[in-house]
Amino acid sequence: MSRLTRILLALVAASLPLHPGYAQEISGADMKSLDGQVQEIKSDVLSIASELSDLEERLLYPSNTQMAVFVSIPEKEAFRLDAVKLEIDGQLATHHIYSFKELEALQKGGVQRIYTGNVPTGDHQLDVTVIGKLKNGDDFSESGSFSFAKGVEPKTLGITLAGPGLGKKGILVGDW
C-alpha cells in the first residue's frame, strides 16, 4: 500500500463518525442500568398519574353531576376543522381551536375529550358550532342544538362531525 493511500485511508477514517474516548468513563452497563431506572420511574409516574386522575375526577367531577363531551371525525373526512364551540344551556362550555396535530389525530381515528364539567340532573340543551375550511378552500360554519337528559350517573356525549354541507345533519350528537 502506498504512503498516499495510507494517508488517504487515515483521513477517510478520520472523517467517519468518531468514537470518542468516553468508553473508559462510561460503560455500557452504566447506560443500561440508567436506562432501566428511567423506565422504572416512568412506570411509577404513570401509576401516580392514573391515581391522580381518579382523585381529580372524584374531587372535581362527582359522578352524579359529571358530564363529558367527546369529538370524533369519521374516516376519510377531508375538511379542515378549525374550531368547535360548545354551549350548555346557553352558557359557553368550551371553545377549542385545533392545531394541525390535533386535527390529524382526529382524522386517524382518535377521539378528543373536548369538555368535562358538571351539570345538574334533568333536561339540558347543548349547542354545537363548528367552523373550518372545505376542501376547495371555502370557509364553513355550522351549528346545531341538541337536547339531552342528565341522570344520576355520569353523562357522556359523543359529537361526530360528519362533514360540512349537511347543516345540522353534519353534526351528530349521541350518548356513548
Binding site: L11, A13, I41, D54, P62, E104, G109
Partner: protein, 627 residues
Amino acid sequence: MKRAPFRTIGLLLFTSLVTSPGHGDELKDLYFGEALYYAHQGYFFEALERLDTEVRQHENIDEPELDSLFFHIDDAEFSLGDFELRYRMHHRAGRAITAVLEGAVDDVVRNDAAYRLAKIHFQKGQLSDAIDALDRIEGRVPDGIRDDIEFLRANVYLAEERPVDASAVLKRLQGSKDFGAFASYNLGIAHLQDGERDKALAQLDRAGQIVTDDATELAIRDKSNIVLGTILLEDGDFERAIPYLNRVRLDGPFSNQALLSAGWASMSIENYERAVVPWSILAEREVTDGAAQEAMLALPYAYGKLDIHGRAAVYYGKALDSFGAEVDKLDRSIESIRDGKFLEALVREEIRKDKDWVIRLRSLPEAPETYYLMQLLATHDFQSGLQNYLDLSDLRRKLLTWHGNFDSFEDMIGIRRDHYEPLLPEIDTRFRKLDSRLRLRIEQHKMLVKRRDDLLTRPRPEFLATRDEQAVLARIESLEKQIQAADTRDRDRLMQRVERLKGVLSFTLDTEYHDRLTAFDQNLRELDAVMAVSQKQYEQYVRSRQAATHSYEGYDDSLRRLRAEVGDSIRTVDMLMARQGRLLEILAIDELTARRSRLENYRDKARFALADSYDRATQAQARSEQP
C-alpha cells in the same frame, strides 16, 4: 476488520417503522379512542395513562363482555405495548406484547405483535430472541408490515453475520415499494460481509443508480456511491473510484465526504489540477465540518504539488486562522457544557418545536457549537440518553405541576369542609324527622296497595264504605248488640228494622262497589305517582347528602400518600436527570475534545506547511530572479 464500518453502515439503514393504530372497525370505546388521540399526537405518556387505566378497569369487571372495551381488547392490549415501546419503556412493552402473543388472538394481531417484539429484541441487540420472535410469524400477515418483517429479518441476519441468509431475503425485497432502495444497498453490504467483493460492487453500483425523487432514497443512493468509491479507494483503484464519488449529489448529506474523497482520489493519481476542484468547493463550506477542515489543509497541499507555493501559503494562512478560531470556539463550547448550558438548552421547549432544533441550539447565547456535535447527536447511545433526559425533564415538569396542585386540592377540600360541617348537623336533624314521617307514609301506601290487590281477588264492599257509612254501620252493629242483649218483646220487630237498615246499606255498598273500587284504584295510582316523586326526591337528597360528605371526606390519606409519592418521584427524577445529564455532557465534551485535538493537529501541520510554503515561494522567486 476493514469491513467493520460497512457493517455498521448497513445497520444504520434500519428504519424506524413502528406502525400506528389507525381506523379499524367502528370504535365502541371512547376512552380507547381518547388514548389514540393522544398517541397520534406523540403524547405517549397521556395515551398510556388513559389506556392503562381503561384496560385495568376492564380486567377487573365481572362481566367484561358488557364493557365497551370488550370489542377492542386485543387492539387495546396491543396498543398498550406499542405505546410503551414508543415511550421507550421496552421492559413493559416486551411483557405486554408477549402477553398478546401468548393469548388466543387473530393471526394478524399475533403476527403484528411478533414483529414488534422482534424489533424490540433487535434494538436491544438480542439477536437470537429477535429471530425466535420472527419465526413465530405464521398464517395471515398484515399487508402493511409484510416488507417490514422481511427487512427486519435481513437486518438481524446481517447483525448475526449471516450474509447468505440476509442476501436471500434482501433479493426478495428488491422490488419493494418502501424498502427497495434500502434492500438494494443492504444487499451490497451483505455481499461485502460474505467476501463477495465483485458482487458487492455490482450491487452497490445498481443501488447508486436508482431513479427516485424521494429524499431518503436519494440519500441511500448517495450512500451507495460513497461506499463504492471508498472501497475502490481502499483498494487503490483511484481512477475507477472517481466517477462513483462524482455521482454523489453536491447538496446531499454525503456531499462533503464525496468531495474530500474525490480530491484524494485525484491526488493519488497525481492529477493535482483535478484535486483542486472538489477541495476548492469544500474548503468554502461550513468550517465546523470535519471534511471541510481537512480540505482547508488539503487544498494548499495540492497547490504546493502544482508548485504554486504563494497561493498555497495564502491558503495555509487562512486555514491557520480558521483552525485557531475554531479551537477557541471549541474551548468556549466545552466551557459552556461544563457550566450546564448544553443541558439547559436541550430542554428548552421553543427550541424542540423546530425540526432543526439541534442546529438552532447554536443560536442560543452561551450554548455550545452544536455543529460539532451533529455526528455524536446521531449516534444511538447519545439519542437514547438524550431522549431519556428529555423524558425525565417532561416528567419533572408534570410532577412539579402536580405537586403544586396538592395545595389547591387541600384548599378546595378545606373550603368545602368549612361550608358543609356547620350546616349538616341541623340538616341531618330535620332530615331524620322527615325521614320517619316519610317511612310511615310509605308503610301506609304499601298497606293500601295491598288492600287494593286483595279487593281485586276477594271483594269486600264494606272496606270501601265512606266515613259516614262506616259510622252508620258501626251504629247498626251496636244497636244489634243492644237489641240482642235487651229482654223485650219487640226484639224481633226491632231486629227486622235493623236488618232492613243493614240491607239498605249493603245494597248501596254492593251496587256501588265497582265504581268505588275504580275510584279507589284511581286515587291509589295518583298516590303512586306522588309517592314516586317523594321517593325520587328522597333519593336525590340522600345522594346530595352523600355527595356533600364525599366532597371533603376520604381524600386526606390519598392526598398525603400521593404528595409523598410525587415528592419521592421528583427526587428520583432529579437524581436520574443529574446522572443522565452528566453522561450526555461527558459524551459531548469528549466529542468536542476529540475535534479540538484534531484541529490542533491540523493547526500544527498548517503552521509548518505555511513556513515551508513561504520558503519554497521565496526560493522559487530567488531562482526566477537569478540571471
